[in-house]
Symmetry: C2
Amino acid sequence: MVSEKTIGRLSLYRRLLTELLADDRLNVYSHELASLAGGTAPQVRRDLMAIGYSGSPSKGYDIADLADSISSFLDNPNGTRVILVGVGNLGRAIMSYFKIQRPTLNIVASFDSDPKKIGSDICDRPCCDIAELETKALELDVRMGVIAVPADRAQNVSDKLVTAGITGILNFAPTRLKVPDHVYVEHVDLTTSMEKVAYFVQSGRKSTEPDA
Amino acid sequence: MVSEKTIGRLSLYRRLLTELLADDRLNVYSHELASLAGGTAPQVRRDLMAIGYSGSPSKGYDIADLADSISSFLDNPNGTRVILVGVGNLGRAIMSYFKIQRPTLNIVASFDSDPKKIGSDICDRPCCDIAELETKALELDVRMGVIAVPADRAQNVSDKLVTAGITGILNFAPTRLKVPDHVYVEHVDLTTSMEKVAYFVQSGRKSTEPDA
């Protein structure tokens, strides 16, 4: 079983490899990839061993081959169909961001409660009535959902997604979700991230004062 | 010294308290707040003790008073001035998201290298030439920056921000940054988060197979 952290690093390595390819590079050493990823060479080698990749470290890894191997491991060859709930500013940004960045992660529909949005196309995808979330999610045969609604509605949306057979949730709502054991939740809390940086900036300013 | 994790939880508590206030609630018990935050009541009490808050647990905390105390601890009373570098889809979304969500975190200007963007207003803020990043950042007297450029340009932008006196960075680029010890970096990697969920959805599908 490959750990959550390894999966995260593999995703990062792939992106770094793609950037190296775009710079016409052909080979990369583990220490170089490690340095770009902010890790160590032994960790890079362990991560690649975990997915059964054996390169030729003497002249470095073949970049295109390694990127392909990571993709075979990480990606569903048919792509992953995703629905997004909550088409506010952030929901819309997520849709357009992933459309460009990761075409294999295909947001096939969005859901909202705003009558002005329902029935229209948002980022080239139909925006559906949130009241029909469970039936539509089943119809669309999706297993992955993105939650971009306010915190007080997130648990309700999560429950509906789980009922509809969703087994992976990317949660942007600033609240932790209660889900059954078979459901994987990744929590992205933008406001907390921003507020943490702001706090440390502010407290750093105070650091000349005693006891600060 | 209050830990990074406590700061994150305080930010979360404040948002949950604000939502309770919007529902006309006046008091909340530590176990209730803990449940909303996905933590435990002793943890909530420890976190609040860390900022010197002593409530009256017999009838629960006064919500408005507690939210105010957290704000006094977390926020710079004058607001925090922030600049954002990289006005792509995501950069734009971050600007509009924080304008609505956290008016105390004030993104005062953005920077990009695209001549079509430079000189125009984006989200009601001037978009400046990235070539002028260091001088403008000094002029604007900011200590906090958001990086929303591609990975291969992030370290260069980070170096310039540090030179200009920035001590806190929220980094959306999929690469780790090397910064001096006095600079705090919070990394938000949306693509990795999305790809992790997609991987676990896909591997969950395989879980009926042996050794999966």
